[in-house]
């Protein structure tokens, strides 16, 4: 065994495969340690409310390598800004907050929004917003009363759009002299508020949504894609490993039992295998996913059940037929070893060299199966997985609208796990089956 491991390192493909698998395992551990399971699900399923300040469909940072000048998200907080308060008597105060920021990008921002954080007992504060562009023009945006956690989404205010004659992020950020240019420089949002109570408090922040976010970007619900990409790794690894272990080990045991007992046991196992080989596996999984449960564990169970009588039985059977006649098995019988003992301690270990490569090559097949089900809309309803990201991206037309990162990132991870395990498996096959070695 250790000799085989040593030999493994002579093959470049195996080393690369091991490196990839190591990377994926490290990523899994990192994901599980940094984001606890419950937290990951909360972030993934919690809805848009958790991700309000993220831009929608933002590219990951690495996309800046291909597309220069993607605007970043700018957030200006009132806590860090200049603020003047004037007491108007009778508990009424006038607050003026200036939220300045530099806009250096040559592309328009995606969206504009003002978040309010207000404290009051009965009378909510009243605010008026004014925008000052770098060339000094002041544009009145509107006035309204604000409640505790109000969000003023400028970009989706129809009245403002009508007043400005276009979407605010376009009108405010376009050079009136040269409409093809973006107005770069120091913009400023002026907020004039009236607080009607002594204990009232008004904090606010302006978010100028860009088109880049984090290392992984965001999806249509503003969710950070890093979460499904990270957490998809342990889920994919666990699913692939468990399914592969479950189906190969049971297949091996059944093949050995069939050969040992022979006659009708063997015949029955053979017939079941033949039926199972042409059962429409994926449609059956789809049936179960639609009618009963989409839980990844139920699907895993069915996958294992369908895999128990897999094509591997034929290979193992051929091998066991030879092993059964070996003298040491006869010796075991002679000293009175029971059937189960002979099968599990003497026959099955002989098949391990055949089992290991097959097992390793099977893992990616199951990883992709999980992704396939997710792409069909039958992924686990709560877990963040790679397949679900691809499904979201696909159903939202990511390829049409140019959000390539959305599909590419989970696809690359899937491909990596596919390649890693298969390269290792193929090499193991060569090492354990010497007839293939020179080829």
């Amino acid at each position: 065994m250790s000799r085989a491991l040593g030999e493994l390192l002579h093959y470049r493909a195996a080393v690369a495969g091991l490196a990839i698998i190591g990377f994926l395992l490290a990523l899994s551990v990192y994901a599980v340690l940094t984001i606890p399971y419950g937290e990951a699900i909360r972030l993934w399923r919690g809805g848009e409310a958790l991700w309000l300040e993220n831009p929608r469909n933002a590219s990951p940072l690495w996309m800046s390598l291909f597309r220069r000048d993607l605007p970043h998200t700018i957030t200006v907080r009132s806590q860090d800004a200049l603020r003047r308060e004037k007491d108007l008597g009778e508990g009424v105060r006038q607050v003026t907050i200036a939220l300045p920021f530099d806009y250096p990008y040559r592309k328009l921002p995606q969206e504009l929004a003002v978040f309010f954080d207000v404290e009051y007992a009965e009378r909510p504060p009243h605010v008026a917003l004014t925008w000052r562009t770098p060339d000094g023009t002041a544009i009145r945006l509107g006035e309204f009363t604000v409640k505790t956690r109000d969000i003023y989404r400028m970009s989706s205010d129809p009245q403002l759009q009508q007043a400005l004659g276009g979407r605010p992020e376009e009108v405010l950020f376009t050079d009136p002299q040269a409409p093809e240019n973006v107005l770069q420089g120091r913009h400023e949002l002026l907020i004039e508020g009236f607080l009607f109570e002594r204990a009232s408090r008004l904090e606010t922040r302006l978010v100028v949504y860009g088109a880049v976010y984090g290392l992984a970007g965001t999806d249509h619900l503003r969710r950070d894609l890093m979460i499904p990409l990270l957490w998809g790794t342990p889920i994919a690894m666990a699913f692939g490993l468990l399914a592969a272990v479950g189906s190969t080990v049971s297949t091996l045991a059944i093949a050995a039992i069939g050969v040992w007992y022979g006659r009708w046991v063997d015949g029955l196992i053979q017939r079941i295998t033949e039926v199972n080989l042409i059962l429409p596996g994926l449609p059956i999984l789809i049936l179960i996913g639609t009618l009963y449960s989409r839980s990844i564990w139920v699907i895993l169970g069915v996958v294992i059940l369908l895999g128990v009588f897999g094509s591997g039985i034929k290979t193992y059977r051929a091998l066991f037929l030879q092993v059964k006649e070996a003298p040491y098995i006869e010796a075991a019988r002679a000293y009175g070893a029971g059937s189960m003992r002979a099968v599990f301690t003497y026959m099955i270990p002989r098949a391990v060299p055949v089992l290991i490569p097959q097992f390793v090559t099977l893992i990616p097949a199951f990883v992709f199966l999980e992704a396939t089900l997710a792409v069909l809309g039958l992924g686990d309803p709560v877990l963040p997985t790679w397949g679900k990201v691809i499904e979201d991206a696909y159903s939202k037309g990511a390829l049409f609208s140019g959000h390539y990162y959305w599909v590419l990132q989970p696809a690359v991870l899937l491909m990596l796990s596919g390649l890693g395990f298969t390269m290792l498996g193929f090499t193991l096959d060569r090492i354990f089956n010497p007839r293939l070695r020179e080829m």
Binding site: A13, Q270, L291, Y292, F400, F421
Partner: protein, 373 residues
Amino acid sequence: MAEALPLAPRRARSAPGTLARVVSYSATRLVALFLTVVVGVYLTILIANMGGYVDVIKRAEIREQVGISVSFDPVMQRLPVEERQKRIKELVAIEEENLGLNRPFLARSLVYLRESLLLRLGFAERMTSDTGSRLVRLIILNRLPPTLLLFVSAQLLLFIASVLMALSLSRRYGSALDQAVVALAPTSAAPAWFYGIFLILIFSALLRALPFGGMVDAPPPERAFAYALSVLRHMILPMAALFLTTIFLAVYSWRTFFLIFSSEDYVEVAKAKGLTSGAIERRYILRPTMPTIITSFALSLIGAWTGAIVLETVFNWPGLGRALFQAIGLYDTPVIVGATIIYAYLLAITVFVLDILYALIDPRVKVGIEERG
């Protein structure tokens, strides 16, 4: 059938009939495969009816049929509304009894089995066929030809291409091309739809050279030739995806297989006799390996059929797989059950067709040597 079997070899011995042997072999396989289909379909029904879904489908079907027959019956039309409702209820009850819906599940499931094997698949809940019919059978028959067109042509091309490439590689193994194929073999871990996404990204989204999906341009060209051309254009990417996912592994494993066989003694003898390499390949390498090749081809075809579901979805190909995908989205249970049954048939037919080929090629079947296992 069981009685005819022992007879067949004896007759073949008296009259040297390869045909008789092939027919008897095929007939045995046909029976075995039919039994397999029965088991598969029965399993589907069991799974689908664990929540009583098939019962619901069948009841809906009866109501629909009774409703149609009543609406075309002039005598019934003239009856007052309550009377007519009562008559409809009675008719439904009679039909349900005929179908055995009031019997225990075991008896019912056998009824469903018969109905499914005869492809009486009931009415779809939401989907319709091209002609507007809600019969699941018509919906599926509508969608079958595009699937067959795409997959049969792709698999045939794939088969021929990979065998030829494998042969030429086995002749000069160790060359750069050979090493490239060996290195690329692990890429087959990814299914076809996965490559489909990349192909769409490159050729449709970035280069704008080929359509994103679908089967013909919209609106479809009127002239037959233009229509065919348009279909071909739409077939390029899905076929390429199918190719990418299989070709390297297929070429790699068959090349290894050919290499093992070309080190056999009889090949050396043939070489020593001075036969051309073409003749050696045909007679001494391809002939003995063909049965194995056919078997592995059958297995890969089976994989491809079920893989079709996602590939067709990704490419918007209006085939059976996409119909199944749409049915999932609409929770259209009758269509899902029907499609599963059709897939069971498709897989069995695939295996059967290849089995006949196998019988024609495998010398053991031809000569009549019993093979065990």
